[in-house]
Subunit: 353 residues, 4 copies
């Protein structure tokens, strides 16, 4: 049994490095998982860019699945050797917000997001899991790890975007931006009964994936005012819009594209722009048009993971076309750089171990 592991660390401002680190230990109620598949997330790019106050040396990553390597005292559900997926958000299940079902806000705003932000991430050969009984989700037999890994963040976040959009059965929805979260929201919109799905994306391979995942119409933002086009197509605006980028432009687009009484669901991360978001009051009916804005961070916990993986296991959802690249952990630095620069038409690079 090795003592050390390879892992991707945020070592200095703007710098990531593949390093060796001691394999973590499992305290009471905790577990350690040996990774089999990971995905790199744009959130890690934000972290390395200095947007979040993360100390140097912290490991990156929050989308990994694997095999239980060690369980701490009191863990009753998972056993060493079990194949498990762990959500990017690992709630404790006990705090006020968890008791109300707000797992992503465990302990405080965005508090369920522990990997990298509060402790080491899991772009690593081994990783530590708090509250193991709450968070270790068994991967169904027959479901490949490299498929299951999409449940950790992309599908859980994208589906939350679609769920919080309150799409009426057969209703109309617009998803702004078709990166991996936006594509997942498109899958979610189709999964939850949308009648017409319009997506907004200018990069050709993402637009193609969007169609493949269920978009009826893909609008290239280079082709003029997006919201106006959506209002035209839908004769008045969509029932629901999903903001999956995190910019003032897409935010405004959602507000203008959504009809009175509709819902704007935000899953875009707005940490890279200025200190405020602006709501044009004409798009907001002066605060009286019945529009609703919802927001979320990836909802976590075992039960949600199990339900998402059931959709994968029964073949109702197949996110793997998002896997544009595959590399071993030894090449994680290069994969991260590709993600940072969004080069080579990358959507999601899969890391294998």
């Amino acid at each position: 049994m090795p003592d050390t592991m390879k892992c991707l660390a945020f070592v200095d401002a703007g710098t990531v490095q593949l390093i060796d680190r001691e394999i973590p230990k499992a305290g009471p109620g905790e577990a350690v998982v040996r990774s089999t598949a990971s995905l790199i997330c744009t959130s890690d790019v934000h972290t390395v860019a200095g947007v979040l106050p993360v100390p140097y040396g912290r490991l990156l990553g929050h989308e990994s699945v694997g095999v239980v390597h060690e369980v701490g005292e009191g863990v009753t559900r998972a056993k060493v050797g079990d194949r498990v997926a762990v959500n990017a958000v690992t709630p404790d299940g006990t705090c006020d917000n968890c008791q109300r079902g707000l797992s992503s806000q465990c302990g405080g705003p965005l508090g369920g997001y522990r990997f990298t932000v509060q402790k080491d991430g899991n772009l690593a050969e081994y990783f530590h899991v708090n509250d193991a009984d709450y968070n270790l989700a068994p991967i169904p037999e027959g479901l490949a790890d490299e498929v299951a890994v999409y449940a950790c963040d992309m599908l859980s976040t994208g589906f939350a975007g679609a769920q919080n959009a309150h799409i009426p059965l057969g209703g109309t929805v617009a998803v702004f931006a078709q990166g991996a979260v936006g594509l997942s929201a498109t899958i979610g919109a189709k999964l939850l009964g949308a009648g017409l799905i319009i997506t907004v994306e200018g990069i050709p391979n993402r637009a193609a994936l969007s169609k493949q995942f269920g978009a009826d119409i893909v609008i290239d933002p280079a082709d003029g005012n997006v919201a106006e086009q959506i209002v035209d197509i839908t004769h008045g605006g969509v029932d629901s819009a999903v903001e999956a980028l995190g910019s003032q432009a897409t935010w405004e687009g959602c507000l203008y594209a959504t009809k009175e009484g509709g819902t704007i669901s935000n899953v875009g991360y707005h940490g890279e722009g200025g200190p405020t978001l602006t709501i044009p009051l004409d798009a907001f009916g002066l605060g009286m048009a019945g529009k609703r804005i919802t927001t979320d961070l990836c909802p976590g916990g075992r039960d949600r993971m199990e339900r998402i993986m059931r959709l994968l296991a029964t073949g109702k959802v197949d996110p793997t076309p998002m896997t544009t690249h595959r590399v071993g952990i030894g090449d994680a630095e290069a994969a991260f750089e590709m993600m940072r620069t969004k080069s080579d038409n990358v959507v999601k690079p899969l890391i294998t171990f």
Copy 2:
């Protein structure tokens, strides 16, 4: 322009007959539609069997689409010549229940169900529509009448069954009986994000359709206790069950097959058995297991029709494999008899004009 039309009437106890009748007129706020496609419903069979207090001479049918033939004074939305679909339930939009969104219960219990029950049905070359602005739904360009006609009752009812089942995203659902409503509930369960769909059906062609529409597993009730099999497969019961037959056996099956905290959604018509339904208290946790029972009749109105037809127009739902037979209105008597006896593996006979 003819004065009379061919139509299928309930002429005497147990007897239907193709008759000639005057074409109806449109009063203020009303419309008359010339039919292009109709479906025969098992509800009509119930009616003819004498289950509902319907006077002899009443026309049968409530699943028809067509072209607007006449509009009464004050009708503003539809124009003569428009292709339209009309829900089996035609609410007035004004009563207390309509104001609360309970369109199927317009004016009282089951009160939105007007065709045949309160006035002539629409298995006829022409039919009358009350509250035309509320009820005439334009058929989208490119959507064939014989597809749109499924929105009138089958999909609206089956989808209500799935909606009222409160299936969690990726959750498990069982649909008991795979007649046309049950099959539509299966389509609805898939459409609304179920992770595992188990259906119960013994007739081979219906079982095959069930698979085609999204069932992961079809259980033949001849193969032993259905609820026990469902509990085994799901390790404790489904999140949601849909009763799509209307019998004590399927009702009980739903209660036993559903896990604590789950939902039993009834769209089966229980008018053919005895005067009561029985709830086994062990299946009901003595009234404390958090189980919920929901019921509904086909929800009506234009908006719902438009949303369901959007799903058809964008190809997300294709109910046409249910059309096992096609006949002209001249052969409607024979089609009705086939429906009554469920012969020749009939699911839905389509009537053309």
Copy 3:
């Protein structure tokens, strides 16, 4: 029977005048009501200030109750002589939004708001009601007109503010501003099971009314940062906040005062500030703190009026302490001026006929 009536008109920029006007007539499906009690609303002040594009000559007012004077052809529910209340919002019950339960957005954004905006208002001895069967709500026997009149806008809007705030049973809520709508939201918060109600108001008589209507704590905005005080009192923020003023300051206050996963419910009219509202991203968790923003205009229709009046008739709600002044219609100009200048501690002036 007189031919003309006294009524309050918006005659020129910034000017209102008591004028004589012909009594309106009821067309098909419509009604005319003889007023018995009216309230003047701050919305009328906004209108006269030129915020909304209303033509000169238009009558003001949208909060009136009275006796049915005339019913048009086809009206079936109300009869001449019935005592009725009419919501400020008079939906047609038929449009897409009405069919979905969004009565305030009838026909388009804010489209249910017809009085003054789309046709004459009802600060008049007689007033016209569209879609009478949908909108005329009988006043229960024993309920005084001057109590019932609060259901027309103040309680319907304030209760919507509380409903849309999604206050958990026993949860914490802050209501920003205690004008008549804010006070009504306070009544609504108490009515809907809030555990702790904090209100924000600096005017002493309004603060006193707030306590009387259920506020546990009233914060004077002159006493320092309101949101910080609320976060302190609640150890982290309220579950729900209601914006009942319509300013950037109160809007921001709501965002900062609400904890992660909470709801900000806007019923304030934001037409008097600049063209945008600003969301501070730290108060919004960068779009990921699970905060939800809801908005609404007064929901209308008979059913809602009947339910609100039931609360008045059974004594569960008594809004009459808001009636700070009473005048005859002859003194409506002075009452309007008082409302415009918010002089003499006015909350709501009641107009009698």
Copy 4:
């Protein structure tokens, strides 16, 4: 520090006895509480009557508050000496059902109900609490223990009855039976915005309490068909009914008294009648009248307790008129006997220590 404690035990078929028992110990994540106030529940009477399979020697009771006496390893929220309330239902917070918010069904049907059923109850000087961080709710300063103790079961259950009844704002509700749970449901119906509250109770002091807690009308079942009276009073039936007894008669009454589209919420325990409940199909619209049946057992957990106690601390709810008797733990046998025979107009006997 004593080693033993006084406690009320179920010692043999039909027999309870005040016995001495060792004070329990707190394992990891657990706590022991020294009781200060307890209530006796009719559920204990059911248990002693042999309805549930509880072994002889098991301690009774599940409604107790007190002071933390010992905390096990890993407990972080509560400290020795804290005043705390513990819900009758003590979920683990981790199981599938808890992760979905179904705390009462922790681990399986009715599985959150641990006291007496799965381990010793808490009619005892000291009692053990599993999953202490999830279940120990601090009692707010200024809230007396003998008030807080009503949050443990009566208010949590009664409020669940009202919440699951989905009472529309200003809607009509009927609560069948006004024992302590029914009275609490009446408090809950008022708390959640019911417009008209009709209760059903024949015992005079309970009828009087019902009025005091918010009932507008109390119907004595001795005065003829209750459901018919309710349908008459409400011109068609209530929006919502709460079954708070657990008998075929009240169950049927709820079904008949509720209008189409309404909700029947069951919190009555149906373990004392036969093996089935019967639904009259005419009251159920043949399964198509849009009626909904919901069921629940007391929802548990710290967050709910804190919210209910907030309502008590701010004076919005005062359940103490239900305390008809007070005795020391030494007289618990007599108090239990009084509860068993429902003698001396008992509603709830409070046990002090």
